[in-house]
């Protein structure tokens, strides 16, 4: 038989149920792609298959896979299979490929099971988070009793990164937000002839709310994600396991210095953001001819020291929440290359949500207490 192809395959029927598959030529990924459909198909009533490879000149892995697939399907259909004209190596490799067990079919997961698994997953996560919180508190108590157990040197290095390096971005955001608030509220105030009162809005909003809030959100995006990725990578590379087998507690070793560093630096960042925000507001009102002295005097009228302390306190709480949830997400990292990314995402989302919710709760408490 001649053919345009450098390789060919044809089935011929012999006696009842016996078939011969004659393959010849050079088998490669290219010829196999063309031959596959005509070659890998079986008669329903097949009882014996002869595979004649006498005419095969060369055969690569794709050819091997094709022949093995025919053998495999025929054997599964209960037919006997005979290879003819194959070298010992080829026959051995075909048998290896054809006789290898395949993995069991994936089990279908029903809706009920899906929901159940999701619920169990949530319960698991919550339990893990509680365990983490407990462990962190225990460590914190131990650290208060015995400050030596804290790795202060690490904490200092981390503080430089999470605090000092975050100053530019926090200040910039604070300034822009203060500027925008003043700019947007100005027309309304001017309608009532109270353009100079804009400074009050900016001052109160920045000091009590936005300064700490901006800082918290920057912290979640910058530091929470970084901590999650760092600890997550350590989980994936078994470094956390190595710590544990040395009898070292990862919470004391890794989490505590991070949380301390953030808790120490974030209030300062919040203070900077607040000051820059108020300055941003001043830039707008100064264009209306308000002098700095008058601006400051007005602010002093509505803001008290307790407002500033309130803001700083909030920033500290945000720092603990954001870095805590970031480290927890990192330590809970699963296997696989996407796992670290998933942990970082979880850290950022949970961090921002926690910042805003806790801001609301603290605002309410301060209001009830009457500060």
């Amino acid at each position: 038989m001649t053919s345009a192809l450098p390789a060919s395959a044809c089935w011929t029927a012999q006696a009842s149920g016996a078939f011969t598959l004659t393959i010849s030529g050079a088998l490669s990924a290219i010829t196999v792609a063309q031959l596959w459909d005509s070659c890998v198909r079986l008669d329903a009533k097949v009882s014996a298959v002869n595979i004649d490879l006498t005419g095969v000149t060369t055969c690569d892995g794709a050819g091997l896979a094709m022949i093995a697939q025919v053998k495999r399907l025929a054997t599964a259909a209960g037919a006997t299979v005979l290879l003819r004209g194959a070298s010992a190596e080829l026959a051995h490799l075909i048998d290896t490929a054809a006789d290898a067990p395949r993995p069991p079919e994936a089990r279908q997961v029903g809706v009920a099971e899906d929901v159940g698994l999701a619920v169990m997953g949530t319960v698991d996560t919550s339990a893990g988070l509680m365990e983490f919180t407990g462990e962190t508190l225990l460590c914190a108590v131990a650290a208060v009793r015995q400050p030596r157990i804290v790795r202060w040197r690490d904490a200092l290095a981390i503080a430089a990164h999470t605090g000092f390096d975050a100053i530019p971005v926090t200040c910039l955001l604070g300034f822009i937000i203060g500027f925008i608030i003043a700019f947007q509220t100005m027309p309304t105030f001017q309608q009532y002839g109270a353009g100079d009162k804009v400074s009050l809005v900016v001052g109160v909003a920045m000091v009590r709310e936005l300064g700490p809030l901006i800082t918290g959100i920057v912290l979640a995006g910058r530091t929470g994600s970084a901590f999650a990725a760092e600890l997550g990578t350590m989980v994936v590379t078994n470094e956390i396991d190595a710590l544990r087998t040395f009898g070292l507690n990862p919470v004391r070793f890794l989490v505590l210095p991070r949380m301390l560093a953030a808790a120490f630096t974030t209030p300062f960042l919040s203070l900077f953001a607040t000051i820059m925000g108020v300055l941003g507001g001043f830039v707008v009102v100064s264009a209306q001819g308000v002098s700095l002295a008058f601006f400051v005097q007005q602010l002093q009228g509505v803001l008290h020291g307790s407002d500033l302390i309130q803001g700083v306190f909030k920033a500290g709480v945000f720092a603990l929440l954001v870095t805590g949830v970031g480290c927890a997400a990192g330590l809970a990292t699963k296997e696989g290359p996407g796992a670290v990314g998933a942990s970082a995402t979880r850290a950022v989302v949970a961090g921002i949500v926690l910042v805003i919710i806790s801001d609301g709760i603290m605002g309410w408490i301060f209001f009830m207490v009457g500060i």
């Binding site: 490669s28 990924a29 290219i30 196999v32 792609a33 596959w36 890998v40 060369t58 055969c59 690569d60 892995g61 794709a62 091997l64 896979a65 094709m66 093995a68 697939q69 070298s87 190596e89 080829l90 051995h92 490799l93 290896t96 490929a97 054809a98 006789d99 290898a100 067990p101 395949r102 993995p103 994936a106 296997e335 696989g336 290359p337 996407g338």
Partner: protein
């Protein structure tokens, strides 16, 4: 094996940036050969292999792989060469997000015209060669280190490349799996004429599969000896070579 040379080194140096790890390398690997690179830990086997597979540039001299001179080749030529070689990295380097089957299927999907069923069957066949077809749906993180190595070999073989580089394929495997692996290499080499360049420390494996080998010598940062394992053992007088093939510590020079 006396095929034409597929890899030639002419007074080549390899290393990282300014740090030369090996220098004065002059030898050739012939087509259809199973060629072993051996030598003490840290002597530069992986570095040499990384240079062959175009991840590192030779620092001096010239290395030609399958007709492509590595120092003067264009990016296109290097890209073409990369498609003609199969590589198994020392660490496995499987794609962690893909199942074992998908790891092997990926290059087939990208570079062949095979269709769905055929792709699966070819990928299964490659996994069967390393004895892992039954685990095809697992993720790399859920199998053992030795199994990961075997999958990495199956992936290196996916496109039936004419030259295959393996960095310690049998390290960490039990003796019987390791022996089955050797048989597979020998079979594939006979059947497909594939050239294998294998880094390994395992003496039984070397004597079973090697046509020729080079033993790198840490002391002179170059070639200690080259030839068939038997010839090296019986005739080569270089201390590093004798120490390696007779499995004894290197004796200090007199």
């Amino acid at each position: 094996m006396d095929g034409p040379p597929v890899i030639t080194l002419a007074d080549a140096s390899v290393g990282y940036g300014t740090e030369v790890v090996l220098h004065g390398l002059t030898f050739a690997v012939n087509q259809g050969e199973i060629f072993i690179i051996a030598g003490g830990s840290g002597c530069g086997k992986s570095t040499l292999l990384k240079t062959f597979i175009t991840l590192l540039q030779p620092l001096a001299g010239e290395i030609t792989v399958d007709g492509t001179p590595l120092r003067s080749a264009s990016d296109d030529a290097v890209g073409g060469l990369r498609r003609r070689i199969g590589v198994m990295y020392q660490s496995g380097a499987l794609f962690g997000g893909l199942s074992l089957l998908e790891n092997v299927r990926l290059p087939l999907e990208e570079f062949t015209s095979l269709s769905g069923d055929a792709l699966d069957a070819v990928a299964y066949a490659k996994l069967a060669l390393v004895g892992l077809a039954g685990d095809a749906n697992k993720l790399p993180s859920t199998i053992s280190g030795g199994m990961q190595k075997r999958v990495a070999v199956a992936r290196a073989l996916a496109l039936d490349p004419p030259i295959v580089f393996l960095d310690e394929p049998t390290a960490g495997l039990d003796p019987s799996t390791s022996a089955a692996f050797d048989e597979m290499i020998v079979d594939l080499n006979k059947l497909l004429g594939t050239t294998f360049v294998v880094v390994t420390h395992e003496l039984p494996s070397i004597f079973r599969i090697a046509h020729r080998m080079v033993i790198l010598d840490h002391a002179c940062a170059g070639v200690g000896g080259i030839g068939s394992p038997q010839a090296l053992r019986d005739e080569c007088r270089v201390e590093a070579v004798q120490a390696f093939l007779n499995r004894r510590p290197v004796r200090a020079a007199q």
